[in-house]
Structure formats: structure tokens, C-alpha cells
Amino acid sequence: MSVREDLADRMPGGDAGLIVAVLLVTYAAYVLVGVGLGYSLRGQLNTIAVLTFYIGVFAMLALALNLHWGYTGLFNIGIVGFMAVGVYVMALFTKPIYTPGGAAQVGGLGLPLIVGIVAGMAAAALLGLVVALPALRLRADYLAIVTIAMSEIVRFSFLSSDLQQFQMFGNRVGFGGGSGLILDFTDPLQALFQSVGLWGAYLGFVDAFKAIVPTNPKPVVDGLVYGLFLLLFVAAYYWLLKRTGESPFGRVLKAIREDEDVANSLGKDTNQFKIKSFMLGCALMGLAGIFWLMTQGAVTPNFFRPRVTFFVWIALIIGGAGSNTGSVLGGAVFAAVLYQGPRYFKNLVDTVLPAADAPSSFGPAIAPLISNLNPAPMFFYTVDSIRQLQLVVMGLVLIWLMHNRPEGMLGHRKETAAGIPLTAAHARAAATDGGTAKNAANDAADDAATAGGDSDE
């Protein structure tokens, strides 16, 4: 444990430095493999863009989950339901008004994107309230069952033909049912740059990018810029949750996590705090869901299967519940190694052995292995079904983590409950910055008080 803490301490820039270092190592690994296989620059850039996208969404979701589980101790395994509500409500608000003969079966209310995003977050938070009201009084495992049941109810509702289309303010709107919903609003990046009057400049930048990618650079640039945009939002989530965690509100949340009865007996209305924390986390999950699907062009209810919830949980557990830095790291490691890694590996195999024809099912794959010890069909079948097998691997990783490292990479670090730095080293640094006599006196007192405890550091 001390080794890991040393790692974070020695890293220049502390937690942020650690995150940047992990990201750089990840990208370097991906690029090196790509270079080794002679990928084109365009392919490399696309790989980086996709990787950044998933690192961004998983880091955001893990951070939001950390607020629930790491801070407040709320066992939410219905994450995907809040994401779904966020996306669908956003689509309902922002899709253009229905016109007969268009590609879309149903329309929306045609409001600006930002209105839709806020509405989606609000809807996710409201759903969180509805779930939290009955379930928070109960044991953690009951909350688990209620939340996962809720996420399935949400999925079945969006799948049902009754909500496929309906009238709202005289417009034909709906959720598309099982065949999905086309997200035919303005491209989010375009909307963003237009709102700040930089769309022309952006198009100029894309044109300039032709020097690197000669043909049709826009999708590549769009992917990279969107990835960067997501990383900015990860930073925003991180900042928000750090501030929340260090505020008096956050201290009560941690007290609830450790012992709800104690927090209650100190006169805190723990139910209020839990509900607020739950709703905030749900809104953040809704926003992460919006960011995940906003640029995908369409959304189907079956995207929101419970496995996505399970992905976020693995990301959080890898990083370590209770630590925001750990959540981001967990999201990055999960996205790079467990989520994109096997898919990248499959692409590699397809590049190296392009002519290979994989058997369509397990029978033709195993038969040659048994009859004449020919492992090739089995290998190709395995590579071909990597999307299923990666879930098996994730399950095994989760089991391994719970056996050997339930606290994750950085979990359950002792976070000081005080808003001001308490340790001697920090206090001295603050003194040199601050410089008033009163501060220095306080610091000296702190030094004296903590000297005994800090001597072993």
C-alpha cells in the first residue's frame, strides 16, 4: 500500500500527473503496436480518437458512480437506466419537428441542444429521486436489486410499441420502440462551435489538417476534437466531485458511508443527503450517457443492457472506490485494456491474417481440433467472438480483483475531512505562498501538533 501511495506522491503533479502519465503510456502502447503493423496515419489517428472517446465516457461514468458508491455507499447497479433516460429525453427535446416524408419516423420538439442536455440530466435526476425514495431506507443489496430492476423497466419501456410515437404539443414525437431512434439533430460539435461563433475557424482548421490527412479529414478531426472535449468534461467532473467531496456536504456523505447511524445521531438528516447525492450522481450519469450516444447518429434500447453498468463497476473497482483519481485511472485502464484492447487485438489479427475465414459456430470450430488436432479454426472462432469472450475476461478480472485487491489501484485513501491542509509538508508550502504572520503561526502550531504522527513519513 505504501508503495502505491509513494507512486502518487513521487509523481510530479501528484494525482493529475499520475493520470497524465497513465494516459501517455496507454497511447504510446497503442501507437507503437500500430506503427509495428504499418497502420496508416489516418488509421492511427482514428484509433486514438476512439480510445479517447471510451476513456472519456468510462472515466465520467466511473466518477459519477464514485459519488454514489465511493462517497455515499449507495450500491447502484442501474447506471444504464439513468443513461438511457438522459439520452432519450435529450433526443425528445432536440430532434427536429416531424415532417412527413423525412427519414425519421418520429420527430422531437426541435429545441436547442443545450436545452435537451439539461432536460436529459434533469430527467435522469428525477428518475433517481423516484428510485431513491423507496429504496434508500433499505439495505444496500435491496437498493441494488431495485436499481437493476429499474434499469430493465426503462429498457422495456423504450422497447415497447406504446411509446413508439405519441403526440406532444401537437407534434408527432416518440421513442422509436425496438427499431431505434435516429438522432437527426445538428451535429453536436457544429452546434457547439456555432454557438461560440467559431464554426468558420473550425472548418478552416479542418482544411489545414489536409496537410496530414489528404483526403476527407473531417471525420478524423471531428473524432479527435470530440475526444478532447470529453476529456475536458472528465476534468470538469473531477473538479466538481472533488469540490463536492471536500465540502461540508461531502463530509456528511463520507460519514454516511462509514456509519449512517452516527451521522444520524449527530443531527444530520441522512436520507436528505443520500437523496441529493443520488440525484446528482444520476444527473451526471445521464450526461455521460448523452455524451456517449450524442454523436452516434442513432440509439436503440438494447444498447442499454445491464452489461454497460457492469463495465462501469469494473472501471471503478479497478481504480478503487472512494478515490476520484482512481475512478479516472480505472476508467482509462478499463477502456484501454479490457474494452478496446480485445477489439484492437481482433483488428490486428484481421490485418495480419486477412484471408482467414472463421467458423460460424462452436461445433465446426472444435471438430478439427478433436479429430486431427488442428487448432486454427478454434483460434479464428475465438478471435471472431472476442466481443463475447472479453465479457468472460472482465468477469474473471472482477473476481480476481475482489479476491486479491478489493480496494483497487487507489481505493480508500484516507482523505482528510478538513478544508485546509493539515500535514506539515503542505503547511510549510502554504506558508511560503501565504506569508502572513498569522498563517505562519498557525502552521507552526500545526507542525507541533502533527510532528509525532508525521515522523514516519
Binding site: 433499505l138 444496500a140 430492476a149 415497447s160 469472450l389 468472460v392 468477469g395 472482477l398 475482489m402 479476491h403
Partner: protein, 368 residues
Amino acid sequence: MGIAETYSRGRRFAVDRPGAILLVLVAVLLFGDLLVGLATGRTAFSEVGSLLWDGLMRGLVIGLAGIGLSMTYSILNFANFAHGDYITAGAFSGWATTYLFAGLGRADIGSLLLVGAGGSVFGGALGIGITGTPFAVIAGLVVAGVFAIALSLAVDRVIFRPIRDQDGITLLITSIGVAFALRYMMQFVFGSDVRGTTAQPPSLSLYFVDGAIRINMHDLTLVVVAGGLMLGVHLLLQRTKLGKAMRAMADNEDLARVTGIPTERVVRSVWIIGGGLTGVAGYMFVLWKGTLGFNDGWLLLLLIFAAVILGGIGSIYGAIAGGLVIGLTASLSVLWIPSAFARAAAFVVMILILLVKPSGLFSGRATA
């Protein structure tokens, strides 16, 4: 005086438990609506009867699978999310056996063992059913139970036992990992297509007021198997020391060990009983509905959780009763709401029960 006392008690109840009163009112309203519908001919008696029968069958499967979940929940103190995949694993092992016995010589062994993965063999073409191939079905039933026992013992030995002293949430997260590993391993081996497994079983029509309720041989098989096993578990837990030891362990594990109860052996018995019932439930579920897919157990699991919580964790009678309530809710709800929300209705019932009586209907009665 009697009237006054009854009145004051009723008033206290109404003040203390407004949720319960509201729930009863809603139930009465729905029931009244159903009666009006029946009286005016809007709803056919035979339709309600068919839904009742369907819900009963569903409830028997849920109850049978719920016994094992309820037992492990109370004795090992965690919600086992891998339970649904034990159901699927039992079903696949059993159906591979059934296919093998029913189709030997008519199709190649590999396709039969993979339960016709990729559309290589069809259960309907093999004429599988309790009347057509009784021996294959019984062999499959036995193998399903035995395989699920072996699987749950192996998983317990390798995965759950080393972390038995951890808290329930750690075990719960671990069981989610087990669930995903098992489920997608099965998808890898058996493929993701949902296959039909049985030929059309012979059925009889019972005339009921204004129409017929069809009951087929597989329904009756389910009633016999589920009823028999439930009775067997009841006798086992009531008449043997094992039942008493389990109750003691559910109550206080340390005290049970101090008293000389071999707790690890009791845990093993719990997995054997629970796993066996789960595997059989999975097999019967597939025999009854006639299709098999790798997601079946998982989709059933949430309903089973609903049943177990509804009945009160740890009570096998609770699991059975809860299973019947959940099954009937899921089936009968289509009388009032669109069928897409039938499953949602069952979850809503569970959430309502959690609100009104979080300890479940049979609360305070740990295991038997």
C-alpha cells in the same frame, strides 16, 4: 367496547401504514375493474382462466428456482447474481443430454451436444417432448440437476469460499463477475440464437364458462415435478437435523459453529439442494416454454429476486408463495396494461412490497 377497540386499532393501522392502505385500495380497484369487465363481457372468463394458468406455471418455475436463491441469501448473506446463470447452465446441460438421447443416430453427436447451435438440429424435428421421448426428458432433467449441483459446488469452492468472511457487497460484486463469465462462456459455446427445443406437446382443452383453457402435457409435467420437489424440500427441512442446522446458521453463524454444527458441511448441503432445484427449474422452464437461449436465466433472475424478497429472504415457503405472486402478476397484468410492461409490473409489485413490508410476506421465518 369491542367495536370501539376494533375501530381504534383500525385507525392506528391507517395512520401508521398509509402505504399499505393505499396498496389495498389499488388492489381492490383493479379487482373490481376485473369483475365489472367479466360481468359486462368485456373480459372473457376463459381469457382470465388462461392467464391464471399461465401465471401459475410461471410462478412454479420462479418458486422452484427461488428456493435455492433464498437459502444461499439467508445462510451465506449475499444476493447471488450468478444464480440466473446456474439456471441457464443447468438448462443447457440437461437439454444437451435430451438432444443426445432423442437424436442419437439421426444427427451428428456434436450438433446434438451443442443443442443444435447454429440451426444444425431442431428439437421439434427430433420430436422431443414428455410423451414423445419420455426417457430423454427424464435423463435431461436428472443431468440438469446434477450439473447445476456440480457447478455451484465448484464455483463455491474456488470463488466464494476464500472470501466467505467478507461482507455481503463484496460477495455480491464477485457473483456478478461469475454471472458474466458463465453467461458469455455459454454464449461462446452454444451461440447466441434462441432455439426451439420441443415438438408441440399434446394438450387438452378444459371448458370454462365461455371458452377453453388449453393445458398441455408439459404444463402437467411442470406441476408434478415442481410440486414433488417442493414437497420434498419441505419434508427434508422439517424432518431432518439439516433443516434445524440451517435455521441456526441463518440466525447466527458463530453461535452455530460453537454449538458444534459443521457450518461448512451445512453450506455444502445448501448449495447441493439449491443448485439441484435451480438446475431442474432451468430445465423445466425450457421444457414448458419450448425455447432456449443463453440469456434465459438472467432474464428470469430479476423475477426470482422479486419473488424471494416478496416472500421474505430465507423462507422457502416465502420463495414459493412469492414466485406464485410474481408469476401471476406478470401474467395477469396484461388485463390492465400493455403486455410490454408485464415484466415491469412484477418489478413494481416487488418495489411496493419493499415499501410497505421490507421484510417480506413470510418475514422472521428463516429457512422453512
